[in-house]
Amino acid sequence: MTAPTHRPTAATPPGAPASRPAGRPGSALFADRRVFLLALIVVVGAVMSLLSPYFLQVDNLLSMTQYGAVIGLLALGQALVILGGGGGIDLSIGSSLSLSGVFMGLLTQSAGLSPWLAAVLALVFGAFLGLINGILVGVIGIPPLIATLSTLYFYGSLANVITNGKQFGGFDRQGFSFLGQGAVAGVPVQVLLVLIPAFAIAAWAMKRTRSGQHTYEVGTSDRAAALVGVDVRRLRIGLYVLAGVLAAVGAVVTNSWLLTARPSAGTGFELQAITIAVLGGINIFGGRGHLSGVFLAVVLVVVVNTGLQLAGVGNSVQVGILGALLIVSVLLNRVIGPRGERP
């Protein structure tokens, strides 16, 4: 969405603040994407529970969130890269997930490493994949869309070459499956101990730390950011590294959950991640939006997809509905709230 800017009129007398940004009375609350998403979640949830009585049962709600953990991690990484501005986008995160997962499988199955140790190494590997993206974009200066499109194919192809059409295992040792299959107090581990902490830490960092503030600054105006002393290039490279690490975390969770590493594990996730980030209110041009909104968008997408599945709606229709949801939410948000999202 585009935030309308509020230009002071030329007639503004010196010293007087320009009139407050215009807005219809009572619209300010709904203008916040997060309130809007929350309302949408409630409405969609209610509709779904009417369509399928099974929807609101506890075990279904929990299995729903299992699916959401992996895509949520990717959406988080995507949101960070987009927030950093400069046309930032990471099309390769699906392939990064696949390749990191395969790399981890190589370590556990062929090298016989402990899956826990392999998981840690996979995170380092994910950071390396992100670093390559960061260097292509930040140092060499290739437009992010092109750079990460090429690594999407490159990483994906490498994952296929390494597995040679097969899949890796060797994860079901030392209690590793706990991460992807276990539950604490009925809540899946990958949600409680991975997704929620990841979002919480990232949201805290964006709001309360210097790097978070720098990200918003760079995303809003990279020239102004450079002139207040921000190393724009290093910051953006860092965001790609983070996206790579988060994709690798997604790979670790996937391996623990499914106990196999497949070269196609992350295929198509990159576009879903972008969709969720934008649905969550992240401005595609950077600098605007909240990670809490992205979290709510993850919840919404999970609720919609699960509900549709229960209602017997096929996957191909689900994807179409996701697209419709995105455009409707952006349009409604624009109609309801003239005020822009502000960090």
Partner: protein, 506 residues
């Protein structure tokens, strides 16, 4: 030539908000006549040209083209009536060919609506032949041409049909002497063919060569309309002589310690061999024409545009910043020229805009920000500069331009700088806020801060500066203080006019 002038202005005036850009300007140009338009930065030359080119309508007065009223609604309408302009910084499509560029927006088509390339090529070739340009250029991408060639193409585009008035905006500022001579030939040929030429220039040395007559604008008023050649000292006298409010002018006679010294600073194509010193508590102005290299020099001192040679010291120790961050840490602040694109973070609150340059000071472990400290600092900034933001969370884009600028002042004051570089600190700001900013600047110096101000407004520099440096074509050409710090001397240095005999500088 006919007895009716080609273009006649009568009492033309134009205001932008409260700023009066032009008042009661009257003159005329006959067919085949070459008129130069002189005036310092902000004298109203650009506004005048834009009115003629159909960019802005005039508020008052009339313009006639021949005997007919001339009120173009758009640049396209102006061009259709035969008035064309070639801007100082030309705009074109660099990836398209010269031929395509010549016909953009007025492509010739055949009966089926297909582009009639053959006809366009024939016309363009004829136009090129008239101006003695190489027709081989037609198929080259515009971006591959030299600046001089691009300009000639744009002139060809401007005059290509039914052109009666051609306006050239400082055409030689980017050209070498040889290229300029070629341009003068082109201008002569057009004048000989009956085109009325309006030629904006800052260069006295080319005045006699390129114009039959000249007018001088000062503060939007036409103060002279004379034939060439003219005595250069007389022109300077006419351009200056403004009533300056000298009451607020500072004379800092106390010998203070050196704060910044710059020796032999050099950056190819931007500035060369710059020596300057700013003392503690001193306000130094940096004047020059647009493009003289002032901003490039300032950015270099601020670490954003590192020089290739030369040395600097700050408070006596060696100072060679490789980035803005290092300069800020060393105690240097820079208020950028363009508030909108280089200064503010538009989507953010006033408070966050103020805090932006001081985050390092408030960052603890993991980069966690000390919010209490930040909030206190922001509140101080808002009250010190009297920024009219109801709360620190108020979006900066909700403030007027003057208060946005004050927010940027607060941002830099929060870093507690030793040296504050201000690039056009009051551009586009209302009069009241402007005076307030001027008194703030004097207050900074009174507290011992060194201030370096770049401004295109001479009255501003004369009002607040202890000393004024003048840059011309990448070099520092004058350091004026005391008695010498006057408008005529500054203009003379800016324009390169020799003091002694009033003839052009060597």
């Amino acid at each position: 030539m006919t007895t009716t002038p080609t273009i006649t202005l009568h009492g033309v005036g134009k205001s932008f908000g409260a700023t009066r850009a032009l008042s009661d300007v009257s003159f005329s140009v006959a067919a085949g006549e070459r008129l130069a338009v002189l005036g310092e930065n902000g004298a109203g030359k650009s506004t005048l040209m834009k009115i003629l080119a159909g960019v802005h309508p005039a508020d008052t007065g009339t313009v006639r083209l021949g005997a007919d009223p001339y009120t173009p609604a758009s640049p396209a309408a102006a061009m259709a009536q035969g008035v064309s302009i070639v801007y100082q910084e030309p705009s074109f499509f660099e990836h398209l060919t010269v031929l395509e560029n010549i016909f953009t927006g007025r492509e010739l088509v055949d009966v089926l609506g297909q582009l009639a390339w053959r006809r366009m090529r024939r016309q363009a070739t004829e136009a090129f032949a008239d101006l003695k340009l190489d027709p081989g250029l037609l198929d080259r991408p515009m971006g591959s041409l030299s600046l001089a060639e691009q300009q000639q193409v744009l002139i060809a585009r401007a005059v290509h049909d039914r052109c009666r008035v051609l306006i050239l905006d400082e055409p030689t500022s980017i050209l070498t002497a040889n290229e300029a001579e070629r341009l003068f030939d082109v201008v002569d040929r057009l004048a000989a063919a009956g085109v009325a030429i309006l030629y904006i220039t800052h260069r006295f040395d080319e005045l006699a060569r390129v114009a039959d007559r000249f007018v001088i604008l000062k503060d939007g008023v036409l103060v002279a309309d004379l034939p060439t050649p003219a005595d250069h000292n007389e022109i300077i006298r006419l351009m200056s002589g403004r009533q300056i409010d000298t009451v607020s002018a500072r004379e800092n006679t106390v010998a203070a310690a050196e704060l910044l010294t710059v020796r032999g600073l050099h950056r190819p194509g931007e500035f060369e061999d710059i020596d300057l010193t700013v003392h503690e508590g001193e306000i130094v102005g940096l004047y020059g024409l647009v493009g003289a290299g002032r901003t490039e020099l300032a950015l270099s001192i601020f670490g954003d545009n590192p020089a290739s040679a030369g040395a600097m010291t700050l408070s006596g120790s060696s100072y060679r910043p490789g980035s803005a961050r290092e300069a800020i840490a060393a105690g240097v602040a820079y208020l950028p020229e363009d508030r909108k694109t280089q200064g503010i973070f538009p989507a953010m609150s006033t408070g966050k805009n103020i805090a932006a340059a001081s985050l390092d000071r408030f960052a603890g472990g993991l980069g966690r920000l000390d919010r209490t400290g930040l909030n206190t600092m922001v509140a101080e900034g808002i009250s010190r500069l009297r920024i009219k933001a109801p709360t620190p969370d108020f979006p900066i884009t909700g403030l007027s331009g003057g208060h946005q600028q004050k927010t940027l002042f607060a941002r830099w004051l929060a870093t507690d700088p030793k040296l504050f570089i201000l690039d056009e600190p009051t551009r586009g700001i209302d009069v009241g806020t402007k005076a307030e900013i001027h008194s703030q600047i004097i207050g900074f110096a009174d507290q011992g801060m060194g201030v370096l101000i770049i401004s295109s407004e001479l009255p501003e520099l004369l009002a607040v500066c202890d000393r004024i440096l003048v840059m011309r074509a990448g070099r520092l050409v004058a350091d004026l203080r005391g008695e010498d710090r006057n408008e005529a001397a500054i203009l003379r240095a800016t324009l390169g006019v020799d003091d002694a005999d009033g003839k052009e500088g060597t």
